[in-house]
């Protein structure tokens, strides 16, 4: 089996994997050009040259799968002792691109009725893997559900439910009729990423009260999304599917599903307002982010006229139309953010980070050894 058919097989079974590719090399590297597939458990297919470099790539690839993010690795294969140098005999340097594949969410739909069918269609449209559980073999068929990669259909619903595996990549939607309670019992203790229940408020309350009385914990019951979906005024099966898939997308991505237009840009904290940090602040501000600069009490910005860190000495500073002002506490910082300016807070240890809870932290302190 070649590497691409292995990749195709993994994709087909929705197994997440990383594909490591040597994109550039200089000097003598262990091997010229190669690709390697890395699975979450560290097992591999193909090679990027073996040895210490490969061990390092496998380690980073597993992290990349875990974070579901691609990464570019840059190795110096020399005798240096810096963090990115690998003490090998060959010399040279190597860049390795690590892409992540196959971690698309899986939607497991209990109930292949009209709503279940529309959920399956839309889930597949956005590239999710679709699995369906039902107890009607004549009704829930591969002809009616051609988009489903997995069908668990047998006349005994409990057996069908038991046969359907659930993992942390699975989003469970319960949309049966007579089988709601059994489906809920099956999945309430699972480690599914999402658990939604299609039913009226009354049905939801009656069922949850029953499970609570039986000893299911508040934590178990609180994670059930019931009534399921976003409040879009959905009425038809197609509309209900949009409301449910939209909610699942938001949960999977860790977003809140609020309108994008009604909100501020995400908050980014930049550590260090020297010329590097200032450049980052100016670009991110243009892109719509809100920014806070954390500085030491005595920043040593070399190019002071292009450094917002100057605000530490002058009280304020303006670079490329971005206005920064020294603030003494978080309340002042928030007030300034609301005005569209950039607060500069003296906080060399970044102790205000938990309270700021930023979307991202950019460490733009250049002389890291000296801070």
């Amino acid at each position: 089996m070649d590497l691409f058919s292995k990749a195709s097989e993994l994709n087909g079974s929705n197994t997440p994997f990383a594909l490591a590719t040597i994109v550039s090399s200089s000097g003598s590297t262990p091997r010229g050009k190669a690709k390697m597939i890395v699975l979450a458990d560290g097992s591999t297919f193909g090679t990027v040259g073996g040895g210490l470099v490969e061990a390092k790539v496998i380690e980073e690839a597993r992290k990349a799968i875990d974070f579901d993010r691609p990464v570019m690795l840059d190795y110096a294969l020399d005798h240096g002792h810096g963090p990115e140098s690998l003490d090998m005999e060959c010399g040279g340097a190597m860049k390795v691109l690590v892409e992540v594949f196959g971690a698309r969410p899986r939607v497991l739909i209990a109930g292949g009725g009209h709503v279940g069918l529309e959920i399956a269609k839309l889930a597949r449209t956005i590239g999710y893997r679709v699995a369906v559980v039902d107890d009607r073999p004549d009704f829930v068929t591969s002809e009616r559900f051609p988009m489903a990669a997995e069908l668990y259909v047998q006349p005994d619903l409990e057996a069908a439910l038991a046969a359907a595996p659930v993992d942390r990549n699975t989003c469970v939607v319960i949309a049966t009729n007579a089988g709601d309670e059994r489906a809920l019992r099956r999945f309430v203790g699972s480690d599914s990423r999402y658990l939604g229940f299609l039913g009226s408020r009354r049905k939801v309350r009656v069922l949850l009260d029953k499970l609570r009385a039986e000893g299911f914990t508040k934590e178990e019951l609180d994670r059930i999304r019931a009534p399921i979906g976003l409040d879009l005024g959905a009425e038809t099966p197609e509309e209900i599917a949009v409301s449910i898939i939209a909610e699942i997308m938001a949960v999977v991505a860790g977003r809140d599903a609020a309108p994008l237009s009604g909100r501020d840009g995400e908050l980014v904290v930049v550590r260090g307002g020297g010329d590097l940090g200032t450049g980052v602040v100016v670009r991110l501000k243009e892109a719509g982010f809100r920014l806070v600069i954390l500085e030491t009490g005595q920043p040593r910005a070399i190019r002071r006229t292009v450094s917002l860190a100057e605000a530490v000495y002058e009280g304020q500073s303006t670079v490329e139309g971005v206005h920064a002002r020294l603030v003494s506490d978080l309340d002042q910082a928030r007030a300034l953010l609301a005005d569209g300016s950039v607060p500069v807070l003296i906080d060399p240890d970044c102790s205000s980070l938990p309270a700021l809870a930023p979307f991202a932290l950019v460490d733009a302190v250049m002389a890291k050894r000296n801070t």
Copy 2:
């Protein structure tokens, strides 16, 4: 042309209409069984018998179109003088069902690229009418957009934009590349139901600043949904389409797109806690609504043991597991609502309605002449 082909024609052109059907009649009614199509302007096709009844049905059908809600009309064709009696010579009674059709929203997509195509597909899937504007006749074709009922495609974008009509039923999505500014200028002053703009926060800000400087009002610019869509973490065209269509659905339905599971039931105010009002309260509470009862200071409930109005005299009352308690102000009412009980507020004139802002008001005062 028969009535059904007329209905089909109206449906095809997305013209809203009401279909009035006599569903039952007793005694001698003007006509046995008949259907009538009523348009928003009051013009008709077919008849339900003519005369005063038909005039009344047309009036109600126009209201039904306006509210986008079906209604069942109940007429007594006798000599009575009650509100629902029509002073006709024929006697008898008539029930008329008024259904509303064809008021599906229309999505007008400026830009038939990859995202525009996915928006068109999903909009059509949920039954919306699709119109597309573009300046690339070779690219935006009826083959690529078979779901579009209207295509406005010509090499001159401004001419294409000018050719595309917009009304209060139209949801405009701007997703061009080079034509964003021209499209925004075309639609910002329109009376579209929704106006969304696909673009980065930076692009949005630059464009809005420009339009503001040119004198467009805050009201005009504030209604632009930019960045467009709900925050679902959408990345692919298919996912972006879900995020946009979900936002449009919420706007069309007047909902806020928040998860249904994270919220309380809607608030319903019931005027009168006698046995009728109590029955309504018990059923609605079971269905998940939150309820407030407004009462007079001396309710004359005849069947006091099944009336929550009893709380006015006893301080509290419980019927079929629903617990009501007399409160003296809105703060107490809200605290009780949070506990899942039903506050009874003495407010015969319903003066607390604006502050309560309920989802619905049920007037369950039986002896209306006496209040």
